[in-house]
């Protein structure tokens, strides 16, 4: 089966600072992948490259067998949605007005929203479970509510691929679990997911694969079990193994299994 998204030999630099060095991986349709790596490793950059807001200097990003840079913006926007870490909205826009902007790639030059757009917005609100919030002011929502509204905005684009930048950041454990459940649900709806995640404990059992991006090791992709080995994490995150409970717990688990 052809992958939905594939990076081959992608490098990217902001000015002279090279952020991503010849990254290659495939993302199969229907998978739910976690993107992990230390701060500044280029996770956000990679997601932006995948959404077409940045263009790579070398290598290519391929979406649905077509090179991304050759596709028109609206075509990309109908296939890929990127949920950013931060969304600042000036003025008192309501949740529904914010989510309606997700229909932009479907609107023509003069054609405004039609009934099908309204239906798509209703559906996006329902999928992200924020229908009850639609009349609230976006800026007045809590962090967890905001995260779900941002996902609804992405879903209004009716994407095949949903990219999420740190969706669990700043969420309490209860909201984190709700968010993971939402991702499972969306995967059930046939949406492919790639999410950058800092909470490594959330990955096993919840994601079908993990992509590791680190300046110190080449890009790796595998099942969570393959990637989340203490030896790999230690090197990739440059973290002394006995100084962090997560690594400690994993080392114990692996030695037990070996013994």
């Amino acid at each position: 089966m052809n992958p939905l998204l594939s990076f081959s030999g992608v490098s990217f630099s902001y000015g002279t600072k090279e952020v991503i060095q010849s990254a290659s991986f495939d993302l199969e349709a229907g998978s739910c992948a976690a993107l992990i790596g230390p701060n500044g490793a280029g996770k956000t950059t990679l997601l932006r490259l995948a959404a077409g807001t940045l263009h790579c200097r070398t290598g290519r990003v391929i979406l649905n067998n077509q090179p991304l840079h050759a596709l028109p913006l609206t075509k990309i926007a109908r296939t890929v949605a990127l949920v950013p870490q931060q969304l600042d909205v000036p003025f008192q826009f309501t949740v529904r007005e914010v989510v309606e902007q997700g229909r932009t790639p479907y609107l023509g030059f003069l054609r405004g929203p039609m009934s099908e757009d309204r239906i798509a917005v209703d559906r996006a609100l329902k999928l992200a479970d924020v229908t009850g919030l639609q009349r609230r002011i976006f800026n007045e929502l809590s962090g967890g509510e905001r995260q779900r509204v941002k996902i609804a905005l992405g879903l209004a684009q009716q994407p095949k691929l949903l990219l999420l930048d740190e969706p669990t950041q700043n969420l309490d454990i209860g909201r984190q679990v709700e968010l993971i459940d939402l991702l499972h649900f969306l995967r059930g709806e046939g949406i492919t997911i790639l999410a950058s995640i800092h909470d490594l404990q959330l990955i096993e059992g919840n994601f079908s694969s993990a992509v590791l991006l680190s300046p110190d090791v080449p890009l790796m992709k595998g099942t969570p079990e393959e990637i989340l080995k203490p030896s790999i994490l230690e090197k990739a995150f440059n973290c002394p193994p006995r100084r962090h409970p997560l690594l400690l717990e994993r080392i114990e688990r692996y030695t037990k299994r070996a013994g």
């Binding site: 807001t53 609206t74 109908r78 950013p84």
Partner: protein, 330 residues
């Protein structure tokens, strides 16, 4: 609908007030052909009051829409029509007009009006290209370049005053122009600016939905498939046409373009599609009222409407500033 009715009533009352009072009922009955006005009344109405009242309506509407466009573009409720430098260019143009070509006019336009219009549009084009690099414009650079150019050109008025040959007469004209005075424009000038206003409204209509999308930020809008740069050019072009039209009729009138969109937003919410017609009409109503007050409160002396606006608008602006303490990100 209610606003259209209000505008008509406001215009009627504005026509009625002045040194010679003509009752609104008399104007209406003359309009419907029942009882003609006296010749003096006709002259006062058709040649003095009507052009002025219509001009203030056009200026108010143009400034309000322009303010709405720039506030949306900069994602900041404190933006106004002069934010990217049009005022500076207009001052420069007006100075040249007032000091060197005061006797000159073309198709009913004074040289001052024409040059102010040209100066206003030219500065915005200049600022846009100054802020542009690698095919993109940074909004913050646009703002700063606008500020610098506007200040630079704005102070040129002091330089021109030293060249004044008419022993102070031109200076007085310049001073009132800088404070915003709606004169009595010729009918051709009124018609041309009116057409300009209407075409700018037509241009603005498809931009309104895009302003809502731009509220999410440039990068997000781009990711949603919006052609951010073209949209930005469209907004700047429409906004600068409107500002230039307003400046050519009324000089520099402060605060109108800032307050009207804000009040509309308080009442209707931030959806630009719904804001456009309301802003256009309330801008007209607001300035017709302000100009009527400006010419009647201290009659026979006339306060420049810009000064009246500063007295009305200043406190309101400060109120907004206090209310929105949270910083607005660009």
């Amino acid at each position: 609908m209610l606003l259209i009715l209000t505008l008509v009533i406001v215009i009627l009352f504005s026509l009625a007030t002045g040194a010679v009072r003509i009752s609104p009922a008399a104007i209406l009955s003359a309009l419907f052909g029942h009882q003609p006005l006296t010749p003096t009344q006709q002259i006062i109405l058709l040649q003095i009051r009507l052009p002025r009242v219509l001009a203030s309506g056009v200026v108010g509407s143009a400034l309000a829409i322009s303010g709405l466009l720039f506030q949306g573009l900069f994602r900041n409720p404190m933006a106004d029509p002069y934010i990217i430098g049009s005022s500076g260019g207009a001052v420069l143009g007006a100075c040249i007009g007032i000091f060197f070509f005061s006797q000159f006019s073309l198709f009913g336009f004074s040289a001052t009006a024409l040059l102010a219009f040209a100066g206003s549009v030219a500065t915005m084009v200049l600022v846009y290209f100054l802020a542009r690099s690698n095919g993109r414009t940074n909004v913050v650079t646009l703002l700063l370049a606008g500020f610098a150019v506007s200040t630079m050109f704005g102070y040129s008025s002091y330089l021109f005053q030293t060249f004044d040959s008419n022993s102070g007469a031109s200076q007085a004209i310049l001073l009132s122009w800088l404070h915003g005075v709606i004169g009595i424009p010729g009918w051709t000038q009124l018609a041309v600016t009116g057409v300009l206003l209407l075409s700018a409204i037509v241009l603005a209509m498809p931009l309104m939905r895009r302003l809502n999308t731009l509220a999410l930020g440039d990068e997000y809008a781009h990711q949603l498939g919006l052609r951010v740069e073209y949209t930005r050019i469209g907004i700047i072009l429409t906004g600068s046409l409107l500002t230039a039209a307003a400046v050519s009729l009324g000089g520099l009138i402060s605060f109108a373009g800032l307050i009207v969109p804000h009040v509309a937003r308080l009442l209707l919410g931030p959806n630009h599609v719904r804001l456009l017609p309301v802003t256009a009409l309330s801008g007209a109503i607001f300035l017709v009222i302000a100009d009527t007050l400006a010419r009647t409160v201290l009659a026979p002396t006339e306060i420049p409407v810009g000064i009246l606006m500063a007295f009305l608008g200043g406190p309101f602006f400060l109120y907004l500033l206090r209310k929105n303490k949270r910083s607005y990100l660009l």
